[in-house]
Symmetry: C2
Subunit: 342 residues, 2 copies
């Protein structure tokens, strides 16, 4: 066997016309039982599968799809964004949703090339991934409308929040509660994908501290690989400090969850003896009662999707609307520090 069999092959081998073969495939009405079976046999023998492209073209049912490309590294936050994307896609009937994922930065370029070549999607929503100028041009010439959901500075249409401001807001909240010894726990920067999330949230943290006239000891800054377990370990370090922090600002909710775990193990009461604030407001946070900074995850998916759809449908040109401001969601992992702590 040399190439994929086509309807012609089937028809010839079964000794019938193309038209008949086609009828057999589509419901088999108006075909003599005998004939049908003959054709069916050939189909099965060859493992024939009709070409959806040809089918579509002939039937005049166009495929309209928007793609979503995610980095598996930011998984938990992605889920919430996807929900927003899905919401608006589903409401449009005409569009399908194609999901791509990218496991490592090296494979990003490859993946984008693939997407451009496949011509499956008319638009692509890139989540938390950095697309180079070259790649943008490549996609554009393939007719793919692009929008990114990301907080990193980038060119092209983008929806996201200001991480530095987010870091500032989180830290200031802790400050207002009366905390003075506030630690920062985040990814080591720059991270493998070249993202500056951690650095930016850290900057906001530093700024807030400075504005409050406080200086931070470097032992209060824990930077490491992203992950719950890693965060747990870093938090344990923080808790073993002679003059340990009364509050921790974790760069993401996942890391904050790790901190919670560490506190539990160290028998440190949260929030009485240790306040913890996260960032993102992923779904799990509401379950554990984590105080965090919301960056309007599902809203970001919704906005980005509405934007690309708008572009595809010809209305709309400028930039996507911006997201609501970042905001502290107070739950039960934060409170004022104990008096004794001076």
């Amino acid at each position: 066997m040399e190439r994929k069999p086509t309807l012609d092959d089937i028809a010839h081998l079964a000794g019938v016309g193309k038209g008949t073969a086609s009828r057999v495939i589509n419901g088999g009405t108006h075909v003599r039982k005998e004939t049908r079976e003959k054709v069916m046999k050939v189909i099965n023998d060859l493992g024939y599968r009709p070409s959806s492209a040809a089918r579509r073209l002939s039937r005049r049912v166009p495929l309209r799809s928007v793609g979503v490309l995610e980095s598996v590294l930011t998984a938990p936050a992605f889920v919430d964004r996807l929900r927003g994307i899905q919401d608006v896609i589903e409401s449009k009937e005409k569009f399908e949703l194609t999901l791509y994922s990218c496991t490592s930065p090296e494979r990003l370029k490859q993946k984008l090339d693939h997407i451009a070549d496949m011509h499956t999607v008319e638009a692509l929503i890139v989540v938390d991934l950095d697309v180079s100028e070259d790649q943008r041009a490549r996609l554009a010439s393939a007719g793919v409308t692009l929008v990114s959901i990301s907080n990193a500075a980038g060119s092209g249409p983008q929806v996201g929040i200001d991480d530095e401001r987010g870091g500032y807001v989180a830290t200031r909240y802790l400050l207002e509660l009366g905390h003075k010894r506030i630690a920062y726990l985040g990814d080591v920067f720059p991270d493998p994908f070249g993202f500056k999330t951690s650095r930016n949230r850290y900057r906001g943290y530093v700024q807030a501290l400075e504005d409050a006239g406080l200086s931070i000891g470097q032992e209060y800054v824990q930077l490491g690989k992203h992950g719950k377990a890693e965060a747990q370990a870093m938090c344990a370090t923080l808790l073993s400090l002679p003059d340990r922090p009364t509050a921790i600002f974790a760069m993401t909710d996942i890391q904050a969850l790790g901190c919670l775990e560490a506190a539990r193990e160290a028998k440190v009461n949260v929030p009485q003896d240790l306040s913890i604030i996260g960032f993102d407001d992923i779904e799990a946070s509401s379950h554990v009662g984590l105080t965090t900074v919301t960056q309007h995850l599902s809203e970001s998916g919704r906005v980005a999707t509405q934007y690309v759809l708008g572009v595809l449908e010809g209305r709309r040109t400028g930039d996507p609307p911006s997201l609501p401001d970042v905001e502290v969601v107070v739950r039960r992992t934060t409170c004022p520090p104990r008096e004794e702590g001076q």
Copy 2:
């Protein structure tokens, strides 16, 4: 404007040949700048978008996609399954992943028809949704290979676990811990999608109790609408019982999370004064330390996907392999009951 413009339209209006117009669209190499701009203008004026079907057909790049249809109602568990599906799709290069979702049982038929008509996917993984015989036939004749991920009894290839056994295992675990007053909290059955999950898990619960020679008072059985808040309310009812249960078996982790919340509000210590076991083992459960019964969510996605891919590629015929047995994942919401409790 009567119908979608085609390349021919563009070419005519721009006063150039089809070939040239095509070149402009695909990178625009070997085209005089002037010509290109002329063509571009027409394209923009008409809001022209190339037909991906035609493009594909001509370029001979076939679209191979497997679809996933989910019911938004079972969302949290779905996320984990999706991860498994995604894993194996990504490893295959050749296939894309198309996501469909279905918001209400009434729309299921409609959605399936849509999927059959679109001819986008060669295979469909239906998650926690019940597909009728008619629909199966319809999909089959559209050439769509089907597999369901579900615990409900159904025809056709299916991957899932035995809910009744799951309920039995969960309850027996509580029994072995020494509990005697064990409540069941689940969805009212039958539920809107016609699922029997709650009923089956409940049966396992009853059976385990019987096997232990215990009878259950009906006040220990709380059935209601699915959801965390609803479960929280039902749990509150349970906690206000004169002779309240020492343990609760919640039909899903989401409901167990609601119970946790209720216990916290009622100042009941978990697990010392109340053991809680859930079902599913969604990601959030690991974060809160919920004891639960795992049904191998991501594994189910993986198995189902490998199965359909196997069928599509011609190897493999029978049924999908079965999942590992259900299993209690012990975390920190369960322990033996207090002595005083008789």
